[in-house]
């Protein structure tokens, strides 16, 4: 028997195939844990200005403070649903800094900070978490529309919706993209595949993020799929897909910026897997992480959280210090205090409003219900 061709040998060598997948997805990292540049050349080529660095740092601080305050309020029973974000600031805030006002954000329930920096007032986010209809307005303080969807509760649904908006932006020849976030768990959903595949088939303007934060509630990443890299799922749809150190603000910003530019130019969507970790419970509704992970693992990840390395890097650069940080923390907390007051003072919602918000023109039965509740002042 003649020897196999090299090509056929590769096709039939399954170990080789698995090894190939691993080699195909190196991790993008620019800033290491110690806050040192590991790729000076990429950084120098990136055009990240000192102002950008400060802005990214401020956004990450805003997110962290919002997280601390929201968790406290939740413990006091003054908040509704809240999904903590500590540890994911680079994945969320540095990536979203790469997008513009005209871009459309499709957030998951953990992506409240991304919507807030797009202009959604914190007081509305608080009301949304409490289920108050007034929080359901995706508008700025001055009533201007914010190009974002409500935080999505159904895992994966935002992916197919983002694909539709991405196609719409392409059809309208807009200089904008739709960008969306899900988790490692979310990347198992059918809608995840349908979303990336639709956007890819239409070469639509989209950037997809998988925030691989280690857990889907209690289910560890390794039980989600045997795929070695969640980013590899993008390849089946023909998209450029990459793995990024999700705790590295510089890598996250750069990856997102490049992906946006590529997509806006008409090349189709990009998929970005961010390697990060959720440092706190899944939500403030009573999840105890110690039922499914070790405290030592959590402690270890706290040492790798993104603010530490960004603080170090910027301090070494001479553009950041403790005083600046404290001043900004105070500023943000004063803002949050004001926002809580606004939220607390919003008029109680009415059942009649719920019904009015159901159809543009209510039916006879609905109108009867509206009249009844209104006559009772409800």
């Amino acid at each position: 028997m003649a020897n196999m061709t090299e090509q056929n040998a590769k096709v039939l060598d399954f170990d080789y195939q698995i090894q190939q997948q691993d080699e195909a997805f190196p991790t993008l990292q620019i800033l290491n844990n110690a806050g040192q540049l590991v790729d000076e050349e990429t950084f120098n080529q990136s055009d990240i200005s000192d102002d950008d660095l400060v802005a990214i740092m401020q956004r990450m601080i805003l997110s962290r403070q919002l997280d601390i305050r929201s968790t406290k309020l939740a413990k006091q029973g003054r908040f509704g649903f809240f999904a903590p974000t500590a540890g994911q600031e680079a994945s969320q805030m540095a990536s979203s800094y790469a997008f513009k006002d005209d871009d459309w954000l499709f957030p998951g329930y953990r992506d409240i900070p991304e919507i807030v920096v797009k202009g959604w007032p914190i007081w509305k986010a608080i009301l949304w978490s409490r289920g108050h209809a007034k929080g359901n307005e995706m508008t700025t303080e001055d009533g201007k529309p914010v190009n974002a969807w409500m935080p999505q509760i159904i895992i994966g649904a935002q992916y197919v919706e983002a694909a539709g908006t991405a196609l719409g932006l392409k059809k309208r020849k807009q200089d904008a993209v739709a960008y969306t976030y899900t988790g490692d768990g979310g990347s198992s959903q059918g809608d995840f595949y349908e979303g990336i595949n639709f956007a890819s088939a239409y070469k639509a303007n989209a950037v997809f993020f998988i925030q691989n934060n280690g857990y889907a509630i209690s289910t560890p990443r390794k039980l989600q799929t045997a795929a070695q890299h969640l980013a590899a799922k993008g390849w089946a749809s023909g998209l450029p897909s990459m793995v990024v150190d999700g705790n590295d603000p510089l890598a996250m910003y750069l990856a997102a910026k490049k992906a946006r530019a590529w997509s806006v130019a008409g090349n189709g969507p990009v998929l970005i897997e961010t390697l990060t970790n959720r440092l706190e419970p899944h939500s403030t509704a009573g999840d105890d992480p110690l039922r499914y992970r070790e405290q030592s693992d959590i402690d270890e990840w706290w040492k790798r959280e993104p603010l530490i390395r960004m603080r170090q890097f910027m301090t070494d650069k001479g553009i950041w210090d403790e005083t600046k940080e404290q001043a900004y923390v105070d500023e943000v907390n004063a803002l949050i205090d004001d926002q809580i007051k606004i939220a607390d003072n919003i008029e109680k919602q009415k059942i009649s409003d719920f019904i009015k918000n159901t159809l543009e023109v209510p039916s006879q039965a609905m109108q009867e219900q509206i009249d009844k509740f209104e006559s009772e002042g409800k």
């Binding site: 649904a157 983002a162 196609l167 719409g168 059918g190 918000n357 159809l359 543009e360």
Partner: protein, 326 residues
């Protein structure tokens, strides 16, 4: 006026909607060159281009999400679900997502989507294609469910659905597509949503039907007329929300009611109609409300459908029972 099939009336409405508003888009599986498996979109891609009428990858949830995202960009998507038996794949988009948009955005956003889909049976499709799942979607607040029973309504109601700023599930009766013809007015016109029609005047009994059960009820009414019973047929046209006013007027006139649906008896539209009548007009009733519905089994397919589906004879029988009750 021209005599047209139900499917031709639908095709004409889609054609007119595309011509009227550039924001109108049609997409789904095989709706392009092929014109849909039932040819409802026949010729529309050739006329309006692939930018307006296009095929999607084969994924219903993707189609639903696509519609929502496009609506976000001020398009008015008309999406096709090839058979309503496949609605489960896209149920989250329809019931969980688009229906809730107005509520979720505190009345600041519209969701002008039409979900077109063939439903019902009687055409010997394979398993899981034919189904009467209107009750399932009618239970969902924030969405309309429109089920025309004749070609003229199919055209006018479809154009109204496309103009609606709320999502509409527009259900087209599989069996009526080619078996039913009727006079269809020329040009662009709309038939108001949420309004029932009196399909036949009468004063002995009100037969309340919708979609594919209307022709069955009309056939039964003709037979009843021969036997000296003058039945009124109320065609609901929109099954969610239901036009209680028109039902009430008919019930108060006749005092006797028979509700007819193609769907299984359990839960569903007929049950809601009976409940509304009991709650509001019970003192006008001279007899218990009768009901004709399909058996509470899984929808059978192919040859088995014929035995299972409701028949005009059953309607005649039950109507006589209601009329003769005293």
């Amino acid at each position: 006026m021209a005599n047209k099939t139900y499917i031709a009336a639908i095709q004409e409405a889609l054609d007119l909607a595309l011509a009227k508003d550039d924001n109108t888009l049609i997409f789904g599986e095989d709706v392009g060159e092929n014109g849909g498996v039932f040819r409802a979109t026949d010729g529309l891609q050739a006329k309006f281009g692939e930018d307006r009428v296009f095929n999607t990858p084969l994924a219903e949830s993707g189609i639903g999400g696509l519609a929502m995202g496009l609506a976000t960009q001020n398009y008015r998507p008309i999406m096709e679900i090839q058979f309503f038996g496949f609605v489960f794949e896209v149920m989250d988009s329809i019931a969980g997502q688009m229906a809730r948009t107005r509520y979720r955005f505190n009345n600041t956003r519209n969701m002008p989507i039409v979900v077109r889909s063939p439903y019902g049976g009687g055409t010997k499709t394979p398993e899981m294609h034919a189904d009467n799942l209107e009750g399932l979607v009618a239970q969902v607040p924030g969405i309309r469910v429109v089920m025309p029973a004749n070609p003229a309504d199919a055209k006018g109601l479809l154009l109204s659905s496309i103009e609606s700023n709320d999502p509409v599930v527009f259900l087209e009766n599989l069996h009526l597509y080619r078996s039913l013809k009727g006079e269809v007015p020329e040009g662009y016109y709309t038939t108001p949503l949420d309004q029932a029609a009196i399909a036949r005047q009468g004063d002995d009994i009100s037969i309340i039907a919708y979609g594919g059960s209307v022709p069955v009820a009309l056939k039964a009414a003709d037979e009843l007329a021969k036997q000296g019973i003058n039945a009124e047929v109320v065609d609901l046209r929109t099954v969610s929300p239901i036009d209680i006013k028109t039902i009430g007027e008919s019930v108060q006139k006749t005092g006797r009611v028979l509700v007819v649906q193609e769907a299984q008896r359990m839960a569903g539209i007929g049950a809601t109609v009976m409940a509304e009548i009991s709650e509001r007009f019970i003192l006008s009733l001279k007899a218990p409300i009768g009901r004709i519905a399909a058996p509470d089994s899984i929808y059978p397919f192919a040859q088995a459908e014929n035995d299972w589906m409701i028949k005009a004879d059953d309607v005649v029988e039950k109507a006589k029972e209601v009329v003769n009750y005293d």
